[in-house]
Structure formats: structure tokens, C-alpha cells
């Protein structure tokens, strides 16, 4: 580890990054924000105004790219929880410098998840009907519905990860208020809730983090399991699989970690100071994690296909045939298997794991592969349901594709704006990593 880093250096690095922003940063941020507006919000407004008919959805493919994106972004959100909660409890050392970034990603990914639920709805202005609130009309929600599970799962996940993110940030915000002026100082002072860094406060903070970690930990498994039940609880061939819960969770973590790698690598490239905190050691550890997850994921994929083959009913076989042997899904399936199963195998080589460039590209493939996995499940299974007369193919319309692309830009824009306001690395945890300093630092810790 970089033992030689001093507290002052850490403070200077992070605060400097946050306060000194180059023109290119603004240009890129502006571009992304405008892109989000033009590609994400404008088509969505158009869709709300005109109707869901602007999508490529049809009978019987009622769930298309929006649901793919929904599941995908839930997946991206997953690494945050895993890293901050599970790895915190297991006291895994390499989580410290990457946890904050991953948690931030989680937060913004969950915003997109929520948005995609609304985008997907036929009458989004009535979204609040899906919350169980007492009303004069004696209406209630259907707790039997997997979608209702979703409302709770995503709601809980969103709340708890937001709290977790904020809670972990309080010491940092307190530190930042001493080094900033103007609105930032006002903001940090307000948000740090009078943190003074007393022993008691540290003690409570540690306890609370531990508590929240334990609280969130089941969510790592449950959220995506529940998302998978949206599909698994139906009778549709290609949806109705018992393996879906672990399959989806593994896939989610895989894409989550890939997302973290992409984020970290980009930061490393554009902001050289990051290289001090995110080192080969981190890449190595995440690489191992991705390799492990990829293997589990591959097992699930193969099992999913094998159970279908074993059932050997016309429904299952046609569903599989459509996914694996039909143009263009054959090629997409091959690409998915290459990206998620074959390519990650090279992570067995340490040299590969510690080379950020290679990791970056592998992770891009993993992301693409994971998106495809959802695509090959969600609209594809619906294309081959029970009555062959109603079989139909689906291709997303420009609105869906635009919103999909826009979502990425919106995510990047939110992330870029956020890391200029809130520290993307946990100051105090970096300092913990740096070890007890010999000399008294200038800043407060």
C-alpha cells in the first residue's frame, strides 16, 4: 500500500479535485446533461404524450427494452451494496478506496431504476397507486404481485443505500467544510450535522455503519432475487425457472463490479491522483471477484439451458431454440457467452488483472454481455409463448433505443456532477489506509 501518503496529501488531492474543475470537465458534463435531456427526457415526454405505442412493444411482447434497462441498472447498483456492506462486515481491505465510488454509483443507478419503472408504465401519472396507502376509496394493493414485491424491494434498497451513502460521508463532509468557502462551506456545514470527530462520534459512526451493513446485507441477495421473481413467478416458458434468483443476483454482481472497474479506470485515466489510491492491488482483487462471479454466472446459464433441455417440452425447446439458434439472437447469445464466460477466463492470469486497460475492455464486454443476457430473457421469452399463432418478434423503436442511450448519459452526468460536490473517495477511510501518521496533520481528520 501507499504508505507514504500523508493526510495532507489526501486532503489536497480530493479537495483539489472537487474544487478545481477544468473547462473540459464542464464541456463533457454539459454534453452529457444535454444528451440526457435530448435522448432521455425528450423522448420520454413524447412517449407520455403519445402513448406507449411509440415503442416497439406489441402483442405478446409487452416487456421490452425498458424492463431490460430496469434489470440492468438494478444490477449495476448491486456492487455498491456488496462492496460497502458485505465486504465491510468481512473486513476486506481493498474495499476502502473504492467503496464510496461504488455507493455513489448505486445511488444514481437506483434513480435510473425508478425512472425506468415509470417509463415502462402505460399511465405513469398514476404511479402512486402502487403504494399501499389508506384511502377513502378502500383500494389496496396486491401484495401477491411480484411487482408489489419490487416496489418494496427497490424502495427499501433506495432508502437504505441513500442513508448508508450519506452516513458514511458525514466525517468527510465535516472535514471538507474546513477546506472550502462559499456555498460549499454552507452545504458541508449543514450536511455534516455538527460532526466534530470526537471519540464518541467515531464510535457511534462505526457502530452505525456496522449496523447498516448488516441490515443492507440481505438486500444484496433479496433485491435482485425479487426482481427475478417478476419473471420467475409467471408461467411463461423461458421465465418460469427456479434458478432465476441466484442467476440474477450473480449477474447483477458481475455487472456491478464491471461497472466499478469502468468507473475507477476512467477516473484513473483522467485524474492521475486517483492512481495513488486505486492501485494494482484493487484491480487484482476485483479481477478475482469478477472471475469468480463469471464462473458462477456461467454455471447458472448452462443450468438454465439444461433444465429447459431436460424438460424437453415443446414450449421450452422452442423458447431455447429462439434464443440460441435463431438469427440474430444466435449471434447475440454467442456474444453474451463470449463476454461473460470465455473472456473473463483470462482474468486467471494475474498480469491481466493488474493491467487497467485490459480490465477496462473486459469489463466493457461484461457490461454488454450482461445487458444482452437480460435482453435475451425478457423480450425473447415473450416472443415464444404458448400459442404459436401469437408468436411475434420484437425490435425496439428509436424511442426505446434513445432512452436506453440517454440513460447512460444521464447516469454519467449525474455521477460527474455528484463527484464534484461530494467526495468520490472516502477521506477518512483513505486515511485509515494510509495508517497512523507520524506527524500531526494540518487538516483535521
Amino acid at each position: 500500500m501507499a504508505n507514504k501518503i500523508t493526510y495532507r496529501e489526501i486532503n489536497q488531492d480530493i479537495i483539489g479535485f472537487m474544487t478545481n474543475t477544468g473547462i473540459w470537465y464542464y464541456i463533457v458534463l454539459g454534453f452529457m446533461a444535454l444528451g440526457a435531456l435530448a435522448l432521455f427526457f425528450a423522448p420520454w415526454a413524447y412517449q407520455i404524450y403519445t402513448g406507449q405505442g411509440v415503442t416497439g412493444l406489441n402483442v405478446p411482447i409487452f416487456w421490452g427494452v425498458y424492463l431490460v434497462n430496469f434489470v440492468f441498472w438494478v444490477g449495476v447498483a448491486h456492487a455498491g451494496t456488496l462492496i460497502s456492506a458485505m465486504l465491510f462486515i468481512t473486513k476486506t481491505p481493498w474495499r476502502r478506496s473504492i467503496a464510496r465510488g461504488a455507493e455513489t454509483m448505486t445511488f444514481f443507478a437506483l434513480i435510473l431504476v425508478t425512472l425506468f419503472i415509470f417509463i415502462h408504465m402505460g399511465r405513469p401519472w398514476n404511479f402512486y397507486w402502487s403504494f399501499p396507502y389508506p384511502n377513502q376509496r378502500l383500494l389496496w394493493t396486491n401484495f401477491q404481485s411480484p411487482l408489489m414485491f419490487d416496489v418494496f424491494a427497490i424502495g427499501t434498497y433506495f432508502t437504505s443505500s441513500a442513508i448508508f451513502l450519506y452516513f458514511g460521508m458525514i466525517p468527510d463532509l465535516a472535514a471538507l467544510k474546513h477546506h472550502t468557502t462559499g456555498w460549499r462551506k454552507w452545504l458541508y456545514t449543514t450536511l455534516s450535522l455538527g460532526w466534530r470527530g470526537t471519540d464518541r462520534q467515531w464510535h457511534v459512526q462505526g457502530k452505525a455503519t456496522m449496523f447498516f451493513s448488516s441490515f443492507i446485507m440481505p438486500l444484496v441477495v433479496s433485491v435482485h432475487s425479487i426482481v427475478s421473481w417478476d419473471f420467475a413467478l409467471s408461467v411463461v416458458p423461458g421465465y418460469s425457472k427456479t434458478i432465476f434468483a441466484p442467476y440474477f443476483v450473480t449477474g447483477a454482481l458481475l455487472s456491478g463490479f464491471a461497472g466499478v472497474v469502468l468507473m475507477l479506470t476512467l477516473l484513473r485515466w483522467f485524474f492521475p491522483f486517483v492512481r495513488k489510491y486505486v492501485t494494482e492491488y484493487h484491480y487484482d482483487s476485483i479481477g478475482k471477484m469478477i472471475l469468480l462471479l463469471s464462473l458462477v454466472w456461467s454455471y447458472c446459464t448452462i443450468m438454465e439451458i439444461l433444465t429447459g433441455l431436460y424438460a424437453n417440452t415443446s414450449e421450452e425447446m422452442e423458447s431455447l431454440k429462439y434464443k440460441i439458434l435463431t438469427d440474430p439472437y444466435m449471434q447475440l447469445f454467442a456474444l453474451m457467452m463470449f463476454s461473460n464466460t470465455i473472456l473473463p477466463l483470462v482474468l486467471m492470469i494475474k498480469k491481466v488483472r493488474i493491467t487497467p486497460v485490459i480490465m477496462f475492455f473486459i469489463c466493457i464486454f461484461v457490461m454488454v454481455g450482461m445487458w444482452l443476457e437480460r435482453y435475451l430473457i425478457i423480450p425473447n421469452a415473450l416472443s415464444r409463448k404458448f400459442l404459436p399463432w401469437m408468436w411475434y418478434d420484437y425490435f425496439p423503436s428509436w424511442v426505446e433505443l434513445s432512452i436506453t442511450a440517454g440513460a447512460f448519459m444521464f447516469f454519467i452526468a449525474m455521477f460527474m456532477a455528484s463527484i464534484k460536490i461530494f467526495p468520490v473517495f472516502s477521506l477518512f477511510e483513505l486515511k485509515e489506509d494510509a495508517g497512523i501518521p507520524m506527524e500531526k496533520p494540518h487538516g483535521e481528520g
Binding site: 415443446s314 414450449e315 422452442e318 404458448f386 400459442l387 404459436p388 399463432w389 401469437m390 408468436w391 411475434y392
Partner: protein, 756 residues
């Protein structure tokens, strides 16, 4: 915060709320209005439906309907459960009649042509002006002594509107009242006349037959009286404790009826007559025919041995023998022929051959067989006029300048005649054309004057269904709603025309309007007919019951009068060889079969969006036309499903998408009739193609009917995207047991256990 700022915020808040409040007030939809009746109509309760019994005029079957009316608007049409023809059932076309009533493309009032003929430029005029224009025209003809120059062309009318026009014409002094429709079944009438001496279409008692041998008759979708015959079909299949009837369909292209058949005999086009006679040969040769004239039959049929027929028809001799045996052994049995069969150049002969079969098996005049209908209440058109009423004759007279004025009602001959008839050019030669159509169709576009008439739901009228169901049936049509646009009933137009003309015509047709004429005519029927009058004390009581029930009909079982077919009669009319086809076999290797589309019939239904979006019963194609090709043929020609294909006959070519269909012979292609309108409203215009355009001007040798199946064609692939839109993607069940079946043998076993 500064005080000034606070005030600013407060101010903007107040302004915002105020504007919001005001906006809310302004934009809130103004309170709905409660509009009371000025004078309440009788028996109308708002919110509760009123039902009017009436008549369906979507095809010539003459079904009785009930129209559901709420708050003065027609909402739904259902079959009249008391009516003997459709027994409360209704087909898709009948259901869609509502959209003819409320069609957005209806002509909204009388119009006078202002631009060139066919340019579609018209000026709206008043009814008085319109009637006087036509009246002046007719007076002028009268003055010039050219009353014979008036031609009236209508659809097949059988009720009192027919009588009215006839009276109008005779008192005016013109014999030229013609009825034309593409599917008039005149061959059938003619065949019955020459073979059985029956000048009508009999009732085919499918319901009670146990073996139905159908030569091309697609009674499930369009033939004769589809609802009545389909109901019979249902009864035949699962009509209770009786044995389940068998259906054998003989046709080159599997129609909807064929799809339901137990056995499909894909005979070579044009050889059905030979096949029928060969079956007859087997009946006589097998000694099943016990009549005294068996030997002369034997002689007549000697040239039609199954072996010979097998070569011509491509149906196994063994199979012919088997069908013959089943046909005579199963009692009762019935042979019918129509659609395809009557559309060959010797269609009449083929139908005669079918009648011979019925005679030999003893099916005529008995339950479950051919049941001749009793004479109608009204003397309608007779078969003797058959040859005269030809559209080709009209075209010829028009070209020769004999037609001075033409009045067209409810028929669209420009669309339904082959281009070779040159009807459009002939009509250009007519000095004055008046159309009584409510829609701007191809024929109406040629008109100088348009007097839009009511649709059937706004008008009075009646009909005497033919074929009926072995009983006398009269159906009354009454307006269910008040006219949607400024239109008038066709009868009213003729009566007001008579008034405008005055003189002899005016005297003869001195009625207030068509309703009065209709009522007076019925008064005569009531007075002259004891059976009709039975059970009613006064005419008014009878009339009210007529309106309530939607008509009058005999309720007792049909009486069966046997009739026979004699050798002497049919000798000159039997088919001796396969029907002829235009086009050299080498250059045009495929037979073309055209058939009426289940929704559009002869094209009249194409402007109704419900029918456009109704999947075709066999192919499930919507909003377009297509050509059915056997996959084997298609493979040979490199044609794939949905490709754009040119179908070329010696008379022209049409481009349309290919539909690969296992139910058609490899040497045959089929195109539905009904699409390809140049005009006819937004739903019909420029959609699909009209196959009639490429047909030759071929007429039945004996009856003079247009022969639709009389040409060969060739196919050529033109492009990839024919824009074929159809419902349903796959038609394989993949062993999923979706439509489960049991074999007839199994059914026989369990039939005893089944409760019905």
C-alpha cells in the same frame, strides 16, 4: 434573507396561486349539458335500448335482423331469432352494416357534377333541384320519343322496391330495367330450370343431411345464404342425437368450407363437371339407381367412367367410386355446387351435373336434400330474363349510343366487370348518368348527378328471400334511425321523380312516399292471401305485427314435393369436356381461381373498417389482397411468403403479395375479389388489387353469366416486400394439443354417452 427579497418571493407565490386558481377555473371543462327531448318519442327510455326488427342488405341472402338503438343511434345489429333464414344468427358482414350507416365517407347530400366526368368535382345542390334536373332529363327523352333510352341498373332487388321501379319503367315506357351483381347465382337458377324445371334456387337442407358433397360451394363464408347454411352445418355436425354428418368438398383451392370438410378432393380446375358425372356413372353402374330410366342414364353417362375421369380430373378412380358409394348409401345425402363451379365457362353444365347427382341419389324434394321453395308472395324476376340482364349487353348498348340516361342504384359495375368489357368507356358514352349511391364508388364517379340514397338502416323496404328455407318468407325493412345525412330512400326518389315527370308515370305512382307504397302493396298481399292474413283481424294489426316481428313467414315444416331430372332435359346441358381457359398452357402455366372475400364479397364491404381489419378466415390477411400459391410452385419460382408477385394473364397483370398456402393445387393460384378500389372512401381506396381487371370477357356458353374462372396466368417474382399483413405467425401446433381432436370412430364410441 432581505425583506425586499422576501416580498418578491411572497409576491411570486401569490401571483402563482392566483394564476393557478384562475387557470383551473378557465380550463375546467364546461359542465356537460343535459339536453331534453322536445317531444318524447314513444317507448324510448334513455339508457335503455330499443330494438327494431329489420332486414339485412349486406348480401342477397335476406336475413332478418334486430337493430339495437339507444338515444336514436344504432348501436348493434343482431340476428332476428324468429327469422327462419338466419335463426337469430348473423355473419360478419351483417354486423358491419352499422359502419355503412355511420361511414365518414358517405355522400352527404345530392350533388351535381361540375368538372369533367370522372374528375370527382361536384357541387352540392338541394333535393328539389336534383330531382328536377333528372326529371327534366327524362321529360326531354319522353318528348323526343326516346323513352327506351332510359336504363335503370340496380342490384338484385326482390322486394317492393323492385316492383316500384318496374312500374315506373313500364309506365314511363322503357323495358330497360336491369339487375346486376357479380354474384347473382343465375347459373344456379338456370341449371335448376333446365334440369328440374324449377325456376328458382331451392333450399339445401344441410342441417338434416348426413353426407354433404359440395362442389366448390363455400357456404361458410359467402355462398347463397351463408348464415342459414352455416347454421345447417352446425346442426349437421353436432345437432344432437343424430349421426354426425360428413362433408366432402371438391375444389381446387381449399376454401373455408373445404377447411372444415372431412375430406378435400383437390380436383383439377374446370373438370368438376366431369367428376360429378363420373360419380353419377358409378351410381348408375353400381345399380344404386332404381329409376325406370336407369338404362338411358347409363347410356348418357357411358363416357364418364372413373378411369377416364381420373385422367382428366386427377382424382383416383377408386376415390370416385368410394364417394359415389358413400353418396348413395348414406341417407339422406346432398350434393351442392356453387362459387368456383358456377364460375367456369360451362358453369351451368357443371351445376346441371350436380343436379343429376342429387336426382340419381334420390335427394330432390326430401328432408336433408334439395327442398324446392314454395312460390313467393310476390312475383319477382323470372329466369327468362337471364340472358337479357347482362352487363355486357348494357356496355354494348351504351357504346352504340342506345343508352341515353342511366340510373344506377346499389351496384358498382365499373368495379365488378373485367376491363375487357370496357364498361367505363361505354359509360362515358352515356349522355346522362344518375347515381343513387350513398358512397363515391367507381361507378358513382361517372355520374352527372348523385342522389344519395339511404342505407338499409334508415330506409323502408322488404325482401322475399331466395333461397328461402323451404317456407315462404317475407322480411320487412324499417328505419331504425333517422337519416344521418341529407339522403332519401331509393323508392322515395323514384316516387318524387314520378311526381316531377307527371303524366302517366305520375298517375301510376301517385303516392306520398315509398312507405305508403310499401304499406299499400302489403295491403294487397294481405287481402289476396289467406295464409298471410290468418290470425290478424285488421290490416293495421297485421302491419304492426309485421313491424314487430320483422316480417312474415310460414311456421310449419316445409312440404316436400319430389321433382326429378330427366335425361331428355339435361342431355344438351351436361359438360362433355373440361372447361376452357384463356391463355396458352405453355406461356401461362397456372389456373387462376378468383373467389369472393368473406368480408368484402364483390367489393362492397371494403369500405367498412371492421371488415378490413377482420382477418381473412383462411389466410388471416388484413387490409390488403394476396395471391395464394402452393409452396411447391413457389419454391420452383423462387417466391417466398410475402414477396411481391406479378400475376399476369393474357389480359393484363396485377402486383400483389404472395401467400404460400398448402391448401391449393400446385397448378393453381387464387386471388380474392373485393379489394383494389380506386375510389370508395378512405378505408377502401388504394388498398390491394382487383383481380377482375385481368379476367377475360368470358361468358358462360349457355347462360351468358360472366365466367370468373376462365383464364390461365403466370407468376413472376417482382420484389421482396409485398407488404403482406396478416394475423398469426405460425400455424403449426408443435404437438401442444391446442386444438384437440378425436377420430370419427372414437366419436361414434362415445356419442352414446354424450348428452346434448
Amino acid at each position: 434573507m432581505k425583506r425586499r427579497d422576501f416580498l418578491k418571493y411572497l409576491g411570486s407565490g401569490i401571483v402563482g396561486t392566483g394564476v393557478g386558481l384562475a387557470f383551473g377555473k378557465v380550463t375546467k371543462p364546461p359542465g356537460a349539458k343535459l339536453i331534453p327531448y322536445l317531444i318524447p318519442p314513444e317507448d324510448v327510455i334513455p339508457g335503455v335500448a330499443t330494438w327494431y326488427a329489420s332486414l339485412c342488405t349486406q348480401c342477397s341472402a335476406g336475413c332478418g335482423i334486430l337493430v339495437k338503438v339507444m338515444e336514436g343511434r344504432a348501436k348493434k345489429i343482431e340476428g332476428n331469432p324468429l327469422h327462419p333464414v338466419n335463426k337469430g344468427r348473423l355473419c360478419a358482414r351483417g354486423n358491419a352494416a352499422l359502419q355503412a350507416l355511420y361511414n365518414p365517407d358517405r355522400i352527404k347530400g345530392p350533388m351535381k357534377r361540375t368538372g369533367e366526368r370522372g374528375s370527382g368535382k361536384y357541387k352540392e345542390i338541394s333535393w328539389n333541384e336534383a330531382v328536377s334536373i333528372l326529371g327534366r332529363n327524362l321529360s326531354e327523352l319522353d318528348k323526343n320519343g326516346a323513352t327506351e333510352g332510359l336504363y335503370v341498373l340496380t342490384s338484385t332487388l326482390r322486394g317492393h322496391l323492385n316492383t316500384l321501379i318496374r312500374e315506373f319503367m313500364s309506365s314511363y315506357g322503357s323495358p330497360n330495367y336491369m339487375q346486376y351483381e357479380l354474384f347473382q347465382h343465375r347459373n344456379l337458377i338456370y341449371a335448376n330450370r333446365v334440369s328440374m324445371g324449377l325456376d328458382a334456387i331451392p333450399h339445401y337442407d344441410i342441417a338434416n343431411t348426413r353426407y354433404l358433397l359440395s362442389f366448390g360451394a363455400d357456404f361458410s363464408s359467402t355462398w347463397l345464404s351463408p348464415v342459414n347454411l352455416s347454421h345447417g352445418y352446425g346442426e349437421m355436425r353436432q345437432g344432437g342425437a343424430r349421426r354426425r354428418g360428413v362433408l366432402v368438398q371438391v375444389e381446387p383451392r381449399l376454401s373455408l368450407t373445404g377447411a372444415n370438410a372431412d375430406e378435400w378432393v383437390p380436383v383439377r380446375p374446370g373438370t368438376e363437371g366431369v367428376l360429378a358425372l363420373s360419380i353419377a356413372h358409378e351410381i348408375v353402374a353400381g345399380g344404386y339407381y332404381k329409376g325406370a330410366d336407369a338404362s338411358s342414364w347409363k347410356e348418357l353417362l357411358s363416357g364418364f367412367s372413373p378411369e377416364h375421369a381420373a385422367r382428366v380430373t386427377e382424382v383416383d378412380a377408386g376415390r370416385i367410386h368410394h364417394i359415389a358409394k358413400e353418396f348413395v348409401k348414406t341417407r339422406p345425402s346432398l350434393a351442392i355446387g356453387g362459387d368456383n363451379l358456377s364460375a367456369y365457362r360451362d358453369g351451368l353444365s357443371c351445376l346441371v351435373a350436380v343436379n343429376i347427382l342429387n336426382h340419381l341419389a334420390g335427394n330432390i324434394g326430401r328432408k336433408g336434400g334439395v327442398v324446392p321453395n314454395p312460390a313467393g308472395l310476390l312475383k319477382g324476376r323470372t329466369g327468362t330474363e337471364l340472358r337479357k340482364d347482362r352487363i355486357t349487353a348494357l356496355a354494348k348498348s351504351a357504346l352504340e349510343g342506345d343508352v341515353k340516361t342511366l340510373i344506377v342504384y346499389n351496384t358498382n359495375p365499373v368495379f365488378t366487370t373485367p376491363a375487357g368489357v370496357k364498361l367505363e368507356r361505354a359509360l362515358r358514352n352515356v349522355p346522362f348518368i344518375a347515381s343513387l349511391s350513398s358512397f363515391m364508388d367507381e361507378t358513382t364517379a361517372m355520374a352527372d348527378l348523385i342522389l344519395p340514397s339511404h342505407t338499409s338502416l334508415e330506409d323502408w323496404g322488404d325482401d322475399f328471400a331466395e333461397p328461402s328455407t323451404g317456407v315462404r318468407v317475407a322480411t320487412l325493412m324499417q328505419p331504425a334511425v333517422s337519416p344521418v345525412f341529407d339522403t332519401r330512400g331509393a323508392g322515395d326518389i323514384f316516387i318524387s321523380l314520378a311526381k316531377a315527370l307527371g303524366g302517366k308515370v305520375g298517375e301510376r305512382l301517385n303516392y306520398k312516399g315509398f312507405p305508403e307504397y310499401l304499406k299499400e302493396s302489403w295491403r294487397k298481399i294481405y287481402a289476396n292471401n289467406k295464409e298471410v292474413a290468418a290470425g290478424a283481424l285488421t290490416f293495421d294489426g297485421f302491419w304492426n305485427r309485421l313491424l314487430e316481428h320483422g316480417g312474415w313467414w310460414q311456421t310449419e315444416e316445409p312440404r316436400h314435393k319430389p321433382r326429378s331430372v330427366s335425361v331428355r332435359r339435361v342431355k344438351a346441358h351436361i359438360p362433355t369436356s373440361p372447361s376452357e381457359f384463356e391463355g396458352d398452357e405453355g406461356r401461362y402455366p397456372l389456373y387462376l381461381v378468383t373467389y369472393p372475400h368473406a368480408g368484402y364479397l364483390d367489393g362492397r364491404g371494403a369500405n367498412l373498417p371492421w371488415l378490413q381489419e377482420m382477418p381473412d378466415p383462411m389466410t388471416a390477411v388484413v387490409w390488403g389482397s394476396w395471391v395464394e400459391i402452393n409452396p411447391k410452385t413457389a419454391r420452383k419460382l423462387g417466391i417466398k411468403q410475402g414477396d411481391l408477385v406479378t400475376v399476369e394473364s393474357p389480359y393484363g397483370g396485377i402486383d400483389l403479395p404472395a401467400f404460400l398456402y398448402e391448401g391449393i393445387r400446385p397448378d393453381t393460384v387464387a386471388v380474392p375479389i373485393g379489394q383494389g378500389h380506386r375510389l370508395y372512401g378512405r378505408y377502401a381506396e388504394k388498398r390491394g388489387v382487383n383481380p377482375i381487371e385481368i379476367l377475360p370477357v368470358a361468358e358462360d356458353k349457355r347462360s351468358g353469366e360472366l365466367a370468373l374462372n376462365s383464364t390461365r396466368v403466370r407468376l413472376e417474382r417482382k420484389g421482396a416486400d409485398g407488404k403482406l399483413v396478416k394475423m398469426g405467425v405460425r400455424t403449426e401446433e408443435l404437438g401442444r394439443g391446442i386444438v384437440q381432436t378425436i377420430t370419427p370412430e372414437e366419436f361414434e364410441r362415445i356419442a352414446g354417452k354424450e348428452e346434448a
